[in-house]
Amino acid sequence: MTQEVLWLSEKQVAGLGITMAEVIDAVEKGWKIKGEGKVEMPAKIGIHPRKDCYIHAMPCWIGGEVDTCGLKWVSGFPQNIKKHMPYNIGLFILTDSDDGHMKAVMDANWITTWRTGAASGVIAKHLGPKEASTVAIIGAGRQGRINLHAMATVYPGLKSARVYDPMASQVDGLKAQMAELFPKLEVVPCADVESACRDADIVISCAPVLEKPERNIRAAWLKKDVLCIAVDHDSSFDADVMTEAKVYVVDDRGQYEHMQGGGVYFQGYPTEEELYAEMSEVVVGKRLRVREGRRTAAPMGIACNDVIVGKMIYERALDRKIGTWVEP
């Protein structure tokens, strides 16, 4: 007896109507199970067919009540942009925990984008201010937009987003998208990084990830009580923003140690031993929530998020009878 595999294209995944609030809840649930020690997630590995390119393998088993396995195989080829092809693209494979069979193969772009925004949402839920009125977004591309989407979801009272991007058209694109999603949210284009950050309760950096970063967010520009989230690894925030913060968290200790130890990313940032916590430890209450002073986070993006969101997509697609069934 062969069990068929559900194939879902990017359009089909995006068309399921899954909301940001749902993705935030899912990522948080994954982190809760991780905090309970029921997630197996080795540090990702990859191949590098071109200069500055990668294709990464990200497997994970989430045990507990979720009990699902999966693999994301995702590439980042910067030169694709010049050829009008996507920079990031990949597939996600959902795998059964009981017998190891492949349940679904789906485009991974939607998952990557949304779960990354949602991870910032979970961080804000646990370490952000009770109420936030101003968010700064540095980098207005796909990640800048989805991160703002997540903040506006966590903070329905959010008044303004101060946005900086060296490409004005990116800011326009973000503004148009937000006008549709959150008509009451004021989007303020900023001439430089400093003016974007000055009055923000939350600062999120979503610049391109560079091996040799030109960091451009200074500690002196930040409010005393602020949440800083680096979605671009260490590409934007000065190291002392993190080293002198009251709280610095990541999404996975092992992955962080592995990346920092590689000698390229997070150089000058706190070490694994100096972390306040891994987010899963905050979610399960092993470490306290902190809502004052400078709290900082560098979520790298982990397979645990992909698997739990991939499972939700699969279940929703079954409900809605979306997708193509193929023989394995």
Partner: protein
């Protein structure tokens, strides 16, 4: 660029993916000899360091004992192959659910843009290439005039080993087979004898196989730590032990007294040692199987050497075979296009 253009004429890279099922993979008519040659080439690339292959990583759901799911990416620049295998082995599947132990998928990517081009079944590839690696190990390390070979473990893997070993051992007259499940022996004879010149003979114990065969292949179920069923005193000079199941069946003394002890990938086995598969420690490694295939290290140098070859499988072997499958499927218009 030419290869990419050719692919792109048949599968619109970036908006389409070619899906090839297991039945379609098997229908392509890729022969055992072809797989043998492809895998031999993969091992040579690996031996010459012409590949990028990080040590595989995996997860191990506790739903059954000894489960594994491995993520195995590989890149062979000279062949324009960038791919990954995501495969699982759940040993109790046949008993519990009546489904195969091993399932999996391969994703074949465009090496120039990173975009996925094809997704194919991985179970057939895994079966074929694993047995081919063992046979190639024997070709370079065994006394190739061997008249008797042994096969321990007669599941899917064992049967394929029985079918392929003649490609490496042309003088073979007899294959002694053994499995703790006696029914597997009759099934092996029924399935393999029509394809194999050598006489396949049932043995009644591990001892009978090991004492009777010059080359001993094993493909039993890998357990988290070795549970030796083969006594060191049964092993004699000149024998070649080729394992597709790590040290599961052997005593540590045998592994450590071999004149030459080889593995397919030092990096992989060091990783496995790190997660507890070699509680007695790894023996001193003479070299990698691929180094011998590439001619960088010598294989067998005398008739009396005791040689052990321990292969757990490498993504570059899957990589060579999956490209052949994708190319053949496109040529034969096999498979279906799904939207990305």
């Amino acid at each position: 660029m030419e290869y990419r253009d050719w692919l792109n004429r048949h599968v619109k890279i970036g908006s389409e993916v070619l899906w090839v099922t297991r039945a379609e993979v098997e229908s392509l008519g890729i022969t055992r000899q072809e797989v043998f040659s492809l895998v031999e080439k993969a091992l040579a690339y690996h031996g010459r360091k012409g590949v990028e292959m990080p040590a595989k990583i995996g997860i191990h759901p506790h739903t059954q004992p000894n489960t594994l799911m491995h993520a195995m990416p590989g890149y062979i620049p000279a062949e324009f192959i960038a791919c990954i295998k995501w495969a699982s082995c759940f040993p109790e599947n046949p008993k519990r659910f009546g489904v195969p132990q091993t399932t999996g998928l391969m994703v074949f990517n465009d090496h120039e843009s990173g975009l996925p081009v094809a997704v194919t079944d991985a179970a057939w590839i895994t079966k074929m290439r694993t047995a081919a690696v063992s046979a190639i190990g024997a070709k370079y390390l065994a006394n190739t005039d061997a008249a008797v070979a042994g096969m321990i473990g007669c599941g899917v893997q064992g049967k394929e080993h029985v079918k392929v070993m003649e490609l490496a051992l042309p003088k073979l007259e007899k294959i002694l087979i053994y499995d703790v499940n006696p029914a597997a022996l009759d099934a092996t004879i029924a399935e393999c004898q029509p394809l194999v010149k050598a006489r396949i003979v049932k043995a009644s114990s591990f001892e009978e196989v090991v004492k009777g065969a010059e080359v001993v292949f094993s493909a039993s179920t890998i357990t988290a730590s070795p549970s030796p069923a083969i006594r060191d005193e049964w092993i004699v000079p000149g024998q070649t032990l080729v394992m597709a199941d790590m040290h599961t069946l052997y005593e540590d003394a045998t592994m450590k007294r071999a004149d030459k002890y080889l593995v397919d990938s030092i990096e992989e086995h060091v990783y496995f040692a790190g997660i507890g598969y070699y509680p007695h420690g790894l023996p001193e490694i003479y070299g990698e199987t691929g180094e011998v295939v590439a001619g960088i290290k010598k294989g067998r140098e005398s008739k009396a050497e005791l040689i052990v070859d321990n292969n757990t499988g490498m993504s570059v072997e899957d990589a060579m075979v999956v490209r052949a499958i994708v190319d053949r499927a496109i040529e034969r218009k096999v498979g279906r296009i799904v939207p990305l």
